[in-house]
C-alpha cells in the first residue's frame, strides 16, 4: 500500500526563520486560526522536535496519536476537525522529557510526519520549523519533493541580529528553490496599555528593510502584544477573543496576502 499522506493537500507553506524566538510558532498558529475562520481546512505540521510549541498554543494538551489504515491520525484542535495537527509533543510520555537526537533520527521522524500521517483533505498545510538551516529543514524539503511546496513565510523581529540570520534563511530558500511568499516583521513596536506610548523594544523596520534589500514581498508588521502572548499561553483563540485589536488587523492582512499568492 503506498501511503501518500499529502495526496489531498492543496497547498503547503513553510514558516521559517534563521533566528529563534521571533514568533514562527505564534505566526503559524495565528495563520492557521485565521484560515480556519475563513472557512479553510488547515493542517499544522510541527517539525520542531526539540522545542515543540504548537500543542500548547492550540490547547491540545496530551492526546494519544492513533493509527488507522492510512497512517497516523492527526490530532484535531476542534470538534469540527477543521484544524489538524501533528507534533512530537503528542508522542512524548513526559512533556518535560528532552528529545536528545542527532540529525539522522530527526530526519527519520520528520519523514514519517510528512508521509505517514493521514492528513486527509486540506486546503493548506502549514509547516512550523525550528530556527536554522539544518537537518529538519532539509528533511522537510526532501520529503515534500513528491508534493508541491507553494512557498515559505519568513518571520523576523526588527533588529539587525535577527535580520542577519534571516538573510541566511533567504539564501537557503533560494538554494533549495523554495519560493518566498513574503517576510513578516513580528514584535514590531509595543504600545503601552497604560499610556499608549509606542516603544520599539526590538528596534523597528528591519523586516521591511530586509524585504526591500532582498526583493521579497513584505507581508506586514505584527506588534508586540501581551494579549497575544497571554492567549497563546492559555491555548485560546486570540482572533476570536480580540477582533478589534490592531494585532488582529495585522494578522488578517498577512493571511489575505498569503492566500492571494497561493491562488495566483
Amino acid at each position: 500500500i503506498s501511503i501518500n499522506g499529502l495526496a489531498q493537500v492543496k497547498h503547503v507553506v513553510l514558516v521559517l526563520s534563521g533566528k529563534g524566538g521571533v514568533g514562527k510558532s505564534t505566526i503559524t498558529t495565528e495563520l492557521a486560526l485565521a484560515l480556519v475562520h475563513a472557512g479553510k481546512k488547515v493542517g499544522i505540521l510541527d517539525v520542531d522536535l526539540c522545542g515543540p510549541s504548537i500543542p500548547r498554543m492550540l490547547s491540545v494538551g496530551k492526546p494519544e496519536v492513533h493509527q488507522c489504515d492510512a497512517g497516523w491520525v492527526p490530532v484535531y484542535a476542534d470538534p469540527q476537525q477543521k484544524l489538524a495537527i501533528m507534533s512530537i509533543g503528542f508522542l512524548l510520555e513526559d512533556s518535560d522529557e528532552a528529545v536528545i537526537w542527532r540529525g539522522p533520527k530527526k530526519t527519520a521522524l520528520i519523514g514519517q510526519f510528512v508521509s505517514d500521517v493521514a492528513w486527509g483533505e486540506l486546503d493548506i498545510l502549514l509547516v512550523d520549523t525550528p530556527p536554522g538551516t539544518s537537518d529538519e529543514h532539509l528533511a522537510v524539503l526532501e520529503n515534500l519533493r513528491k508534493h508541491r511546496v507553494d512557498g515559505a513565510v519568513l518571520v523576523t523581529t526588527p533588529q539587525a541580529v535577527s535580520t542577519g540570520d534571516v538573510r541566511r534563511e533567504i539564501t537557503f530558500c533560494k538554494k533549495t528553490a523554495v519560493k518566498i511568499l513574503g517576510i513578516v516583521e513580528n514584535m514590531s513596536g509595543f504600545v503601552c496599555p497604560h499610556c499608549s506610548e509606542c516603544s520599539n523594544v526590538f528596534s523597528k523596520g528591519g523586516g521591511e528593510e530586509l524585504a526591500k534589500l532582498t526583493g521579497s514581498v513584505f507581508l506586514g508588521s505584527v506588534p508586540l502584544d501581551p494579549l497575544l502572548t497571554a492567549t497563546l499561553e492559555e491555548g485560546r483563540d486570540f482572533l476570536q477573543a480580540f477582533p478589534e485589536s490592531s494585532t488582529y488587523t495585522a494578522i488578517s492582512q498577512i493571511v489575505n496576502t498569503v492566500l492571494s499568492s497561493l491562488d495566483a
Partner: protein
C-alpha cells in the same frame, strides 16, 4: 544518546551500546562486524586532543536554553565583556551556533576573518584579553547560509575546540543554539575529557519558553553538566513615558522563579526588557558600558557578581570586589 548510523536497521541498539553488533536487530546491518569488534565504541581521539589543548583553560561555562531568542548570545557576550573588564583575566567566547551565529555582530566583529598560524587558528580579539571564535568569521558574506546536517556541524565544533589557539584562558564561555541536538551533544562529548564547570540557563518568563527550558535542564542532568543557575530575561518592561511595568511575556505559570523552586535550582536573577539592549547588540557595543545605570545593566552586574563566588576560586573574590566597586562608583 547512543549513535545510530544512517544505514542502521530499525531497532539498532546504537554503536556505543553493549549490544552493538550482537543484538538480533543487528543481523544484516552493514556495520555489524565493526560494531561487534568494538571499534565503533572506541572514543574519538579528538576528545583527548581537546583535553590536552584545553589544559590552559581554567573554567568552561556553557550558556544554554531549550528556547530560541531568549538572550543566550546577549548574555554570553556581556558576561564575556564583564569578565574581560578585569585586565588580569583572559577571556574566550566560543559561538557554536553554526546556522545562526550572532556573536560576531553583538561583539562588533562583523567582517573579521580568522587567520591560520603554526599553532592553529587564531581567534579574533575584541580586546587584548577577550578572544572570540564563531563560524561567522569563516563566512565571506552576510547572506551565506550554512546548510549543514549534524555530522558536518559536529566536525566544525571539534575543530573549534581542537584547532583554535586559545592560549592561556581563565574563562571559556560557550554560546549555543537553542535545542538539545547535535551541537549540544558534540560540545558535551568533545569536552568530556577537558570538563565543563557548568551551565547557565536562560529563559523568558512565559510557559511556552519554560516548557522548552525544562527539557534543557533534563538534558543537563542526563549528560551530567552542573546547572549553575537560571536567568529570567525579558522580565517585564517599564514604559519610558509613564513608568508603568507591563509583562509582555507574562509568567502565567509562575515564571522562572516557580520553575527553579520546583527543580531546586538557583534563580540567578531577572533582567528587564530594555530597547537599549537590542540596540547595543545591533551596533556591536556592550550595553554594560553604554548604559551602565540602566536597570538591565544593574541586573546583569548583580547576576555576574555572585555568579563568580559560586565557582569558588580565590581569584573570583578579588574579581568580585572589582565588579562591586565598579557598580558602587556608578
Amino acid at each position: 544518546m547512543a549513535d545510530v548510523p544512517n544505514d542502521a536497521p530499525e531497532h539498532c541498539p546504537g554503536t556505543s551500546s553493549d549490544q552493538a553488533g550482537k543484538s538480533s536487530a543487528c543481523q544484516g546491518c552493514p556495520n555489524q562486524n565493526i560494531c561487534a569488534s568494538g571499534a565503533a565504541k572506541a572514543p574519538d581521539p579528538a576528545i583527548e586532543e581537546i583535553r590536552q589543548k584545553l589544559t590552559s583553560v581554567k573554567h568552561k561555562i556553557l550558556v544554554l536554553s531549550g528556547k530560541g531568542g531568549v538572550g543566550k548570545s546577549t548574555f554570553s557576550a556581556h558576561l564575556s565583556h564583564a569578565l574581560a573588564s578585569d585586565d588580569s583575566k583572559e577571556i574566550a567566547l566560543l559561538d557554536v551556533d553554526i546556522c545562526g551565529p550572532s556573536i560576531p555582530k553583538i561583539m562588533g566583529l562583523e567582517g573579521e576573518q580568522v587567520h591560520q598560524s603554526g599553532s592553529g587558528w587564531s581567534p579574533v580579539y575584541v580586546e587584548d584579553n577577550l578572544a572570540v571564535m564563531s563560524i561567522g568569521f569563516l563566512l565571506s558574506s552576510p547572506d551565506d547560509a550554512v546548510i549543514w546536517r549534524g555530522p558536518k556541524k559536529n566536525g566544525m565544533i571539534k575543530q573549534f575546540l581542537r584547532d583554535v589557539d586559545w592560549g592561556e584562558v581563565d574563562y571559556l564561555i560557550v554560546d549555543t543554539p537553542p535545542g538539545t541536538s547535535d551541537e549540544h551533544l558534540s560540545i558535551v562529548q568533545y569536552l568530556s575529557g577537558a570538563g565543563i564547570d557548568g551551565a547557565v540557563i536562560i529563559t523568558t518568563p512565559q510557559e511556552v519558553s519554560l516548557q522548552d527550558v525544562r527539557k534543557e535542564i533534563r538534558f543537563c542532568k542526563k549528560v551530567k553538566i552542573p546547572v549553575i543557575g537560571v536567568i529570567e530575561n525579558m522580565s517585564g518592561f517599564v514604559c519610558p513615558k509613564c513608568k508603568n511595568t507591563s509583562q509582555i511575556f507574562p509568567p502565567t505559570t509562575g515564571g522562572a522563579q516557580r520553575m527553579c523552586e520546583e527543580l531546586n535550582l538557583p534563580l540567578l536573577g531577572r533582567v528587564p526588557l530594555d530597547p537599549r539592549i537590542g540596540r547595543s547588540c545591533d551596533e556591536g557595543r556592550s550595553f554594560l558600558t553604554e548604559v551602565p545605570d540602566s536597570p538591565a545593566a544593574v541586573a546583569y552586574q548583580n547576576i555576574i557578581f555572585p555568579f563568580f563566588c559560586s565557582l569558588k576560586t580565590l581569584h573570583l573574590v578579588y574579581f568580585s570586589l572589582f565588579i562591586y566597586t565598579d557598580v558602587i562608583s556608578h
